[in-house]
Structures are given as C-alpha cells and as structure tokens.
C-alpha cells in the first residue's frame, strides 16, 4: 500500500466524523439545499396564488401536496444509498411491468393513457416512477463496471433507458418520455460516456430526422413543431398557446404588470396557466426580473445538488444524485423553452412551481436521495 492511499482513506474517515457531528447530517438533510428549494416553492406559491384566480380549494390542495413532498424528501433522505442500489433493479422491473399494464388497462385522460387504476382505490402514474427508476437502474448497472463504460455496457444502458422511454412515448406522453430519457442519459454522461460517441450519435439522429419526422412522430406532434416556426398559421388552434404565452411574457416587460395584474391569465387568454404555462403568468406579472430570479434559484439548486453528488461515497450514489440534478434541469429548460416559444409544446411542468402533485413529490423525493448519498456511508 502506498502512503497516499492510506492517507486518503484516513482523511475520508476524518471527514465523515466531522460531518456527522453536525445535527442536520444526522437527519441526513442539507440545510442549504432545503433553503433554496423552499425559496423556490414559496415563490412558486405566490405566483400560483395569482394563477388560481381565487380558486381556494385548488390552492389548498397544492399546499397539502407540497407538505407531502417535504415528507417524501425527508423519508427518501433517511434511506442509505445501498438500499436504493439494492432496490434499483426491482423498482425498475416493477415499473416496466406497470408500464406494460398501462398500455393495456390504463385509464384514458385527455386522449392519452397514463394512469393505472388500482382497485378503484387510487390512481397511479407509472411513468412518474420511471423518472427515478431509470437513473437508478442505469447507475446500478454501471457502479459494478469500470468507468468510463465500454461500448457494450453503453449499449446495454441505452436499452435500459429506451425501453421505458418508448413505452411512455406510446401512451403518448412525449414530455415524460423526454424526461425519463434525459434522466437515464445523464447517468451515462456523468459516468464518462465518450463525447465522441455522443457527437456521432447526435449526428446520426440529425441525419435520421426526416425518417423520424415521417414515421415516428404523430400528426399532432409534427403540427406542434411546425407551429413553433409559424404560430400565426393557426392562431386559434395549435398556435394559440404559443401566441398567448409569448404575449403574456413579452407584455410583462422588465418589471411586470404587478402581482395579480396579469390580464393574459386573468382574462383566460393563457391556457394551462396554473400548470405547464405558469412561467408565463410569472413573466407577465413580475417581468424579466421575476423570471430571472427564479432561473437563478434553479441554477443555485443545481450547483448545490452537484456539489452534494460529488461528495457521495459510492459510485452509485454519485451517479444517481448527479442524474437527478440534471433531470431537474431538463424540467426547467424544456418547460421555460416551450413556454417562451423556442421548443415545441410538450407536457413538462415547471418544477416545484406548476400546480400538480406528482411531479413535486417525485422531485422532492429525488432531492431526498441526493441528500442521502452525501451523509450515508457507502456501505
């Protein structure tokens, strides 16, 4: 044994001893990250307050869900990484089975089949579970292999990712499909996937774009992409959302029209103002300053999340935590980009701000895992 190796092991033990001396480490919660998340959640609740336009029951329901989300965070933080590692293949397989069941027995809502009715007791969306299960499975697969992954292992990982992503795309739920793919793929990137391969496969996809356009995309999806380039071609139909959301954001100006003063959302021009398009309400009422503040908070969350991930004591924990952070970013980017009219409209909520429980709970559980990997010993 070389000296350096020995030293490092010692110092790691030292470090963990210091860490565990802090009270918040003993409950496995990172105060900085929790503070940042809470700032975003409170800010989001203020915007949502305006977007619900006086619909109190809706607002209270969201408050309850966020309470549940905090509980999910704390619970997820208590479980040690090796627990997730052991459960990863199992959760993934269950998720796949559920996804197949959804295809056959799912409940149809607004034209797509995403929900599973469990004995009439409650409804459950397996694709939401896959946002956590896929990165877990990929991280589980890679932690046993030496990194960066070889071509063989990379292809195996792609299979793990694409199988559920395609099943979800069939529902159809392009938004979640993208998030699941993003979550799994970010594990590969963090694991050191060769940039050259990424570049080549990117070029290959670009070359295949006409074929994808022709054979993979559904008519309405093609319409959404076309609309992006010329919203005025169908101002009352496909172009409506994008015209109204850019109008809302643009009319907010630098400082906004003032909280609760957004005419676009109050007069119901803005579609889905509470859910996917809530950033337009923010942009209209609090202006560029408001949106920029939120984006800055998101950036800080991502930075803190990545730092926590880098402190993980196992490869699995590191990869998983890092992947969750990037999934979170994909949420932010896809949502803001689509509402501001630079990406086609896909169903992705603004994390921790949009009305709706499932994604908030999943995300907060993800942050719980991130906090777990730093404060728990690898084994």
């Amino acid at each position: 044994m070389r000296n350096t190796d020995f030293q490092r092991t010692l110092s790691a033990q030292d470090l963990s001893a210091v860490r565990l001396s802090r009270w918040y480490d003993r409950v496995h919660v990172d105060p900085i990250l929790v503070t940042l998340l809470t700032v975003v959640i409170v800010f989001g609740l203020v915007v949502l307050r305006s977007a619900v336009a006086g619909n109190e029951p809706l607002y209270e329901a969201q408050l309850k869900r966020l309470g549940v989300a905090y509980v999910a965070l704390i619970v997820a933080a208590q479980a040690p990484p090796y627990f997730y590692q052991r459960m990863a293949p199992l959760i993934y397989l269950f998720g796949l089975v559920f996804l197949v069941l959804v295809l056959f027995f799912g409940v149809q809502v607004k034209g797509s089949q995403r929900w599973l009715d469990v004995f009439g007791l409650f409804r459950f969306q397996p694709s939401e579970l896959m946002k956590l299960a896929v990165p877990m499975a990929v991280a589980w697969y890679l932690q046993k292999r030496s990194l960066p992954p070889s071509l063989k292992y990379t292809l195996a990982c792609l299979c793990i990712i694409l199988l559920p992503a395609l099943l979800i795309g069939r529902q159809p739920d392009l938004g979640t499909s993208i998030l699941v793919f993003g979550a799994g793929f970010s594990v590969l990137l963090l694991a050191g996937l060769s940039w050259r391969w990424v570049l080549w496969s990117g070029l290959a996809v670009a070359a295949a774009a006409p074929l994808i356009w022709q054979f993979v995309l559904e008519g309405y999806q093609r319409q959404r992409i076309l609309t992006l380039f010329d919203p005025q071609s169908d101002p009352l139909g496909a172009g409506w959302n994008i015209i109204q959301s850019t109008t809302a954001i643009g009319s907010g100006g630098l400082f906004g029209k003032g909280l609760f003063q957004g005419s676009q959302s109050y007069l119901e021009f803005l579609p889905e103002a509470r859910t996917d398009f809530i950033v337009a309400v923010l942009g209209e009422e609090l202006g560029f300053v408001g949106v920029a503040f939120l984006l800055l908070m998101y950036l800080l969350i991502i930075a803190r999340g990545l730092w926590l991930a880098s402190q993980a004591q196992s490869t699995f924990g590191r990869l998983l935590a890092g992947a969750f952070v990037f999934t979170f970013f994909v949420y932010v980017f896809v949502n803001v980009a689509m509402v501001s009219g630079i990406l086609p409209v896909v169903g992705v909520p603004l994390p921790l701000v949009s009305y709706g429980g499932t994604s908030a709970i999943t995300l907060m559980a993800g942050f719980g895992v991130i906090m777990s990997v730093r404060t728990h010993k690898a084994w």
């Binding site: 030496s146 009352l236 643009g250 100006g253 119901e268 984006l295 980009a337």
Partner: protein
C-alpha cells in the same frame, strides 16, 4: 489486488465525475443563458410589440346602439316603444368551428331547421365591422339559463341585451306608424356605416321610415376588457350613445281604434284629418299586419303567407290604394261649373235617368236605373244634384265644361298629386287629361271621357288620403291642407318648408268662387246626411242610413265606384260578380259643419253602396271623434274652473 484496484477506481471515478459534472454544469449555465436571452428578447427588446398585443387581446372597442326614439300619439299614448330583449350573439372571430358551435346550440335550444337556416343566413350577411352577430333576437328565460349552464362548451357565444321595438297596438296602428325591419345589405349601403355600426333595425315603413334619421340617434362607443371567451369583464371607457328623438304624431289612437272597429273586419281604408292643420288623426288600412313580427322574427312561410295573401295586408290602402272616386268627385265638378260660369246655383235640368251625347248611341244611366225603372231624380239644381247624387246632372255639366278647366280645378284639390308631407311613397292617384290619354293610351280625349269624369269614373283614380284632403278642403271652404303625421318638423333643415306647408294654401278657385258658393256647396253636402222625411226622391242619399238620429251637423258625399264595366243595358248584380269585382263604397265627410275639426274619407273595398256601407263607417268614426271633443271640452272647462 481487487481491493487495491477498487480503491484506484474510486479515486479515478470521482475525478471523472467531477470533470463531467463541471462540463455539464457549464452546459447548464449556457442553456439557462439562452433562456435568459430569449426572455430579454420578449420582455425588453420587443416589449412594445407584446404589450400592444396584450392590450389588443383584452380591450375591445364596441359600438353601442342608440335607443330609438319613441313615437307618441297626440295625447301622449305610446305607439312605438323599446323593450329589453335577450338576444343570442356569436363572436365569430373567436369561434374556431362555427358549425360545431351551431350544432351545440341546436341541441341546447332545440332549434328547428328553419331557425338554423335563418341563423346561417344572418351569419352570411354579417357586417365585417360587427363585433358579434345577433343570431336569435329574443330568448326566453329558460333558454338564457340553459345557455348559461352550457357556457363552457360555447366559447364565443354571448347573450346580449338589446333594445327592440315594440308596438303595443299591433295591427291597429300598423300602417299609420309603420314598422322597423332587420337591416339588409341594401340598407347598409344607404346609411352612414359609422352611425349604424351597432344598429340592427331600421325604419322600413310609415313614420318609422320617414323619420328614420331623427328616430335613430347617434352611435356610442365603449372600450371594454374582454376575456378569451369574449365575455366582458369590465368597462374601461364609455361614450354613451345619443338616443333618437321622440316623435309626436297628430294621430289619435282612440280614434284609430274606433276606425278599425267601424270597418268591422271589412277590407278598406279610413283617413281622418284635422282640417285645420292637415294632421292625420287616424289612418287605417285593413287588413293589416302585426308589425311586431318583423322585430321578433318570423319564419319564411309566415312571411310568404303575409306577402302573397290576395288581401295584401302589407299594402297601405290609405295612401297607396287607388280607386275611382265615383260620386265623391261630384262636389268638385259642381263647383268647377260654378267657377267656370257654365252653371248657376238655381239652374235646373230634368233628370229622367239617362243621358246621351248628341249624335251618339251610348246611354249614360242614373245610379238608380234598373231594367224596370228608368230612374232619374226629376227636376234638379246643383244642390239637389249633390244630395240626390244625380248622375244625369253631372253628365250634362261635365259635357258642357271645357275639359281643361275641370282638370285644373280638380288639380287644385290635390287630385293627381301627392300632398302628404311625411309618409314615404304615398301614391298620387290619376287625374287624366288629353295629353295623358294620348301619351298612355294612344287615343284622343272623347267627349264621353268628360261625361265619365263628371261622375268620378273613367280613368280618374284617387287614394283615400287624397279624398280626405278633398273633404278637408270643403271643410275649410276652399283652403287645402297638406296631410302630415308628425306634429312638428323633426328635421332642422326643412322646418321652414314644413311650416309653410302647414299654413293653408291659397284658396281653391280664388278668383271665381265666393264665400257664398262654398257655403252653398257645404249646405248641399250637409243635405246628403240631414235632409230627411221629404218623401220619394226627396231625402239626402245617406239620410236614411246615418242622418235620422245624428246629434251634430255633418256634411258629406257618398260614392260608389264601379270596378268592372257593366255593359249597356245590363244590371249590376252583386250576386253575379266575384268578390273583387264588386263596387267600392266611398264616403267623404267633415264635422261639425260650422267649425270642422275632422274631415275624413272612408273606402270599403268591394263593399257596395257608398251611402249604405261607407257612410255608417264614417258616422261611427266621427261620432267617436265628437264624443272625445265633448269630453275634452268638459275637461277643459273643469280645468278652467
């Protein structure tokens, strides 16, 4: 060894991870930077574009229709009112699939196919300036609530309140007041598009049409905040519309009602004037129509039934029905003879019931002629010729009068002219003369034409309105008036013309006729009604029908106008003629004789004898007028005390 390599892996993997995470974090910062740039583009660089787009979204400038002026009778009774109605309107710009919306409406409101077609027609003929198109005029309360319940599936569908015309007297005053109709494309081309941008109805007939400009008022505007479904949330700025002017008519709705009753369902017309002003006190044309159906909408079949009926209820007989005046023309012929000096009041001729022009075979008969009785009124002077309505006297007189002077004289009474000041498109009748006959018929004026004109037959035509003017002229002892509906001019520019026209015109036959001549003619016409108990052929023609129990002095003249020519030697037999070939019954009258306050003309289409059929109608109308005058007199006295 495995242990060692695992440790090495760990350290390398941490480095790898940190490197990758750093790279990706840089990517995150770049992508968030792109989002920030996009937001700057929208919110800062292109702020003006989006701000105005947002304002365009929420603000809607709506034009506001002015309330139409109301129409009152001379005693302040409301003849045309405005009522609030809930109407269904579509904001077409906000409906992506109009057919789908219509289907939904059809199922919610249980619309009939005819209604659907009407809606489609209205959508086709909509004006581009319209913010919304009214597709159903008056909704019931239950329809309004059903629409409210289904509001979420009906974007762009509005329930709007609009003022619509209401005619409380329905068909009683239909032809007098006129009616409004939904504006058509033709109307739109004629009117000021700005002033009418919010207006749905326009005056189409009668007073409503003539005073359209005054009744309409001026358009208003409102700037309103409107939501995505086209519903108004709040009003930001309003410029109120200016209501139209109210119009007060000479019409007396009580007299109008009495006139309708007096006709008791028969076809015909009554025009009653105030001879002092020319104001129309009553104007009835029967059968009539309910003008309210033009407002609330009616089915196509109902409209075609109305417009194709052989009894032409939409036709205003009072101003546009042209009939031979028959014997009601005789006082004009008589006075023309006096004025011309061809006859004196005490000149007598013997009326044996027949008249022949020298050297001609055709026999002109007395009205009392039958196959068994040659008829004739015996020795007749002008006065007796009037109250007995001697045909032979006027055949003879007309044959001796220069035709030009008779025609010019009749012209002074308004025959062949439209004197009505404020009723659109009243007919002018026909006063034939040699020039007209040559031009239209290609024939010269025969002496027989003059003979026929002597008893108001031949080509001579007059409307009941014109004959009411004749009656008023006699009532005024020669001063003609121009009939008018409104009490004053409602048009600033022409008020001077209106005032001049309201003054009496120069006296008819000014140079040639004395006051005495007029009084004698009035007395002759008085005899038509009041001369009674004089034995065989001694009574006024109308006495036995209306003169026995009359309590005031009334002057008049009956007339019975042939519709088809009865060939020589044939008797007129009502039974043998079809309904529309029977004689028209006329009566013109005025009262009280000394100081007339009413002058009227009654026409009963295909009614029969003037004295027997039209005179009782005239009496009933004048009775109603006199009763009212008496009551008003008592009222005024009471007020004075």
């Amino acid at each position: 060894m495995a242990f060692e390599s695992s440790i090495k892996d760990q350290s390398r993997e941490v480095e790898l991870f940190v490197g990758r995470a750093t790279t990706l974090f840089v990517g995150v910062v770049l992508l968030l930077g792109i989002l920030a740039l996009r937001l700057l583009e929208l919110q800062v660089w292109n702020y003006d574009t989006y701000a105005s787009r947002s304002d365009d979204n929420r603000m809607r400038v709506q034009t506001l229709a002015p309330a139409r002026g109301m129409i009152f009778d001379r005693n302040g009774q409301l003849l045309a009112d405005n009522q609030n109605a809930s109407s269904l309107a579509l904001v077409v710009d906000e409906i992506s699939d109009v057919q789908k919306t219509l289907d939904a409406l059809t199922s919610i409101l249980a619309l009939s196919e005819a209604q659907e077609n009407e809606i489609l027609a209205r959508l086709r003929s909509r004006r581009t300036s319209d913010a919304h198109v009214v597709i159903i005029d008056s909704l019931s309360e239950s329809e309004v609530s059903r629409l409210a319940v289904n509001r979420h599936v009906l974007p762009g569908v509005l329930v709007v309140n609009q003022l619509v015309r209401f005619y409380p007297y329905g068909e009683i005053a239909a032809h007098a007041v006129g009616s409004v109709r939904r504006m058509t494309d033709d109307d739109l081309r004629r009117v000021d598009p700005v002033q009418y941008s919010a207006t749905t109805f326009i005056g189409k007939r009668g007073v409503e049409a003539f005073y359209e400009e005054q009744l309409h008022g001026a358009v208003g505007y409102q700037k309103a905040e409107t939501d995505a479904l086209g519903r108004k949330r709040q009003t930001l700025d309003v410029q109120s519309p200016l209501a139209g002017k109210d119009i007060h008519l000479h019409l007396d709705i009580e007299l109008q009602k009495a006139s309708v009753e007096a006709l008791s369902g028969r076809r015909g017309a009554i025009v009653a004037l105030d001879p002092r002003s020319g104001g129309v006190l009553a104007m009835v044309s029967m059968p009539a129509y309910d003008p309210n159906i033009f407002v609330t909408g009616m089915s196509e079949s109902a409209f075609s039934a109305l417009s194709s009926s052989e009894y032409v209820p939409l036709f205003n007989r009072a101003t546009n029905g042209q009939y031979a005046p028959g014997s009601t023309f005789k006082p004009i012929v008589g006075l023309s003879g006096i004025a011309n000096g061809r006859v004196a009041w005490d000149d007598e001729i013997e009326d044996r019931g027949a008249f022949q022009l020298p050297g001609q075979e055709r026999v002109y008969r007395d009205w009392s002629w039958t196959k068994d009785d040659s008829g004739g009124q015996g020795m007749v002077d002008l006065r007796r010729a009037i109250y007995r309505s001697s045909n032979v006297y006027f055949y003879d007189l007309a044959s001796r009068l220069p035709i030009r002077s008779l025609i010019d004289f009749a012209d002074e009474f308004g025959m062949g002219q439209n004197l009505v000041l404020d009723i659109p498109s009243a007919s002018q009748g026909l006063l034939p003369d040699p020039v007209w006959k040559q031009g239209v018929k290609g024939l010269p004026w025969y002496p027989g034409d003059s003979v026929n004109m002597g008893i108001g037959q031949g080509d001579l035509l007059a409307t009941p309105m014109q004959m009411a003017v004749v009656a008023a002229t006699f009532a005024n002892r020669g001063y003609r008036v121009s009939p008018r509906m409104a009490q004053e001019s409602y048009d600033g520019d022409s008020s001077a013309a209106f005032a001049t026209a309201s003054a009496r015109t120069n006296r008819v036959g000014l140079e040639q006729l004395s006051d005495d001549d007029w009084e004698k003619m009035v007395a002759s016409m008085e005899d038509v009604i009041h001369r009674g108990n004089q034995g065989f052929r001694g009574n006024g023609t109308a006495w036995s029908y209306i003169g026995r129990d009359i309590e005031y002095r009334m002057a008049g003249k009956s007339g019975t106008a042939q519709v088809v020519e009865i060939s020589q030697g044939e008797e007129y037999d009502e039974e043998e003629l079809s309904e529309f070939d029977r004689k028209h019954a006329w009566f013109i009258a005025f009262a009280p004789v000394e100081n007339p306050t009413i002058a009227l003309a009654v026409l009963v289409e295909n009614g029969g004898g003037g004295s027997s059929v039209a005179a009782p109608v005239a009496r009933a109308v004048i009775d109603a007028h006199m009763k009212q005058q008496r009551l008003q007199g008592l009222h005024n006295m009471a007020m004075a005390e």
